[in-house]
């Protein structure tokens, strides 16, 4: 959580075309830079990060230290590869950029990505290092790309000259299967001398691993609200499916018992009778339409067991039985809300086919067609729009499965 202004020095020399880091050295470097920027700004919102390129036509500051992550990421686009890296000039320009930072209370840090050979003397680098130390600027070096003993030695000497109380680090990343960013995450460059940044590093590591350890691929640390929402909706869906499956199984058993009548009026009275018989345990003093609807709403919000859901569905025909117009209106509204593609007529034909329904139910997991309650429920089921709605849901869920 230390308040810091960081300048990142990117190597965009010709050596970055090499593909020994996938997909290319330059791309691996860009990913690492993005990660670092994110980590710095996350560990302390007042941190600022700036970026400059060391090769190309000359040292060029792409963005001065800013806490706007979007600006930093945007400037990484369209960078051209070419030329030779000028390490000394790059570090000196970075130091100058840090000197003119807006918030003088921030600690100064330079992060250098050194992928190409270093043409400066060790002495020159050591002098630069001492100057950085004198001005209390910390330096992190990522040594990747060209593997050169002299280069390693020079960079080690540079960091040793700057190092004051372990605030500066050098990391050597050899080419290999793992990405540059992944290797860097575990280094002190990310963990910021071993304090707060480790939380972000752990989360980033998890994200990098593809969220394998976490349900739904979302890290609860990174995004607790999203993870919670996903979990809740998953549970709701599961409960709904179970309820619908159980109800459908009951309905199938009832159909097998032999309810053949297809006339709507008869069906409605039948279901009304069945509904009353089933809803004995439920409050049956539903004389008003409003009461019935209210009970349904309550039952739905409480996410009751399947029997209650069945009774809820049968309540609607009960209420509707009092008023044919209302029944019609209810049917229409239910159909609209379900956005059912197939017409009710087709569905009723399909559902009248008992063998089809029983075959569907037999394939449902966890549904026992011989369960008496299932059979009872099925007996009450006919070509009701409400039941159709559930059955439409159920075959649809079948399709989904």
């Amino acid at each position: 959580m230390v308040l810091e202004a960081t300048m990142i020095c990117i190597d965009n020399s010709e050596w970055m075309r090499n593909g020994d880091y996938s997909p290319s050295r330059f791309q691996a470097q860009a990913d690492a830079v993005n990660l670092i920027c994110g980590a710095k700004t996350q560990s302390n919102p007042e941190n600022t990060v700036g970026v400059l390129t060391m090769a190309g036509k000359g040292v060029r500051v792409l963005v001065t230290p800013t806490s706007d992550l979007g600006k930093i990421l945007a400037c990484m686009h369209g960078l051209e590869i070419g030329g030779e890296m000028n390490l000394a000039a790059g570090i000196q320009v970075a130091q100058l950029a840090l000197k003119h930072r807006q918030n003088k209370k921030q600690q100064q840090r330079i992060i250098v990505f050194a992928g190409s050979p270093v043409k400066f003397d060790k002495k020159v680098l050591e002098m630069i290092g001492r100057k950085l130390k004198k001005n209390s600027v910390a330096l992190d070096v990522v040594n990747f790309g060209e593997e050169d003993e002299a280069k390693t030695e020079k960079l080690e000497a540079l960091v040793a000259a700057v190092n004051n109380n372990d605030s500066s680090h050098i990391v050597h990343v050899p080419p290999g299967p793992s990405a540059l960013s992944d290797v860097l995450i575990s280094t002190p460059i990310f963990t910021g001398d071993g304090e707060g940044g480790s939380g972000f590093a752990a989360a980033a590591a998890a994200a990098a691993a593809g969220g394998a350890g976490f349900e739904f691929g979302v890290d609860p640390n990174l995004d607790p609200e999203l993870a919670l929402a996903l979990r809740v909706s998953m549970e709701e869906e599961r409960a709904r499916q179970e309820a619908a499956a159980k109800k459908a199984a009951e309905e199938a058993a009832k159909q097998e018992k032999g309810e053949q009548s297809t006339s709507q009026d008869v069906n409605m009275t039948d279901t009304a009778k069945a509904g009353t018989s089933e809803s004995e345990n439920k409050a049956t003093d539903l004389t008003d339409d409003e009461n019935a609807l209210l009970q349904q709403a309550l039952a739905m919000s409480m996410d009751d067991s399947s029997s209650n859901i069945a009774t809820r569905d049968t309540d609607m025909p009960e209420a509707a039985g009092d008023d044919q117009d209302l029944a019609l209106a209810l049917q229409l509204s239910v159909q609209d809300s379900m956005k059912d593609e197939s017409s009710p007529a087709d569905m009723s034909k399909l559902l009248a086919d008992q063998s089809f329904v029983s075959s569907i139910l037999a394939s449902l997991p966890g549904v026992d067609p011989n369960d008496p309650s299932v059979k009872d429920l099925l007996a009450s089921m006919q070509n009701q729009s409400e039941h159709k709605k559930d059955e439409d849901k159920e075959p649809k869920e079948e399709d989904k499965k």
């Binding site: 000197k99 003088k104 001492r130 130390k133 004198k134 001005n135 209390s136 004051n164």
Partner: protein, 172 residues
Amino acid sequence: MSAESASAIQRNQVDLLDFVDWSGVECLNQSSTHSLPNALKQGYREDEGLVLESDADEQLLIYIPFNQVVKLHSIIIKGPEEEGPKTVKLFSNREHMGFSNVNDFPPSDTAVLSEDNLKGKPVILKYVKFQNVRSLTVFVEDNQSGSDITKVEKIVLCGTTVETTRKAMPGD
């Protein structure tokens, strides 16, 4: 006069240590083990074993803000004969200077320390330049022997506070 200067406190002059804003005190190029409080803080600075040392080279840049406006009269810098500071430049009211811009402004005063000074004789400053001091920057340019490390045992700032006027309070 000499007795007074020997005791290093003159009429009305107080040790400005009480008015130092410690949260803003900074020292560039100090060694991490031998840092500024060794020379500045009460108790530490009396101990001759505890010194402020420079790190990468012999220069030091010390920034001392005050929590109120003061007038600076004199300054005492104690150090060892060889590694003690020689040329000391003082800047008043310049925030956040760095070694690179230290030569861009003329100093408010320059002191070349002699052996007596290093033993505790105060350096009388150009009082007129230090009438309205909010912060003081002390730049130690080199040391007596020219060695790589400068050591400072004690820094004392002597002066007075500025009389502040009080706003009329309700009920006066």
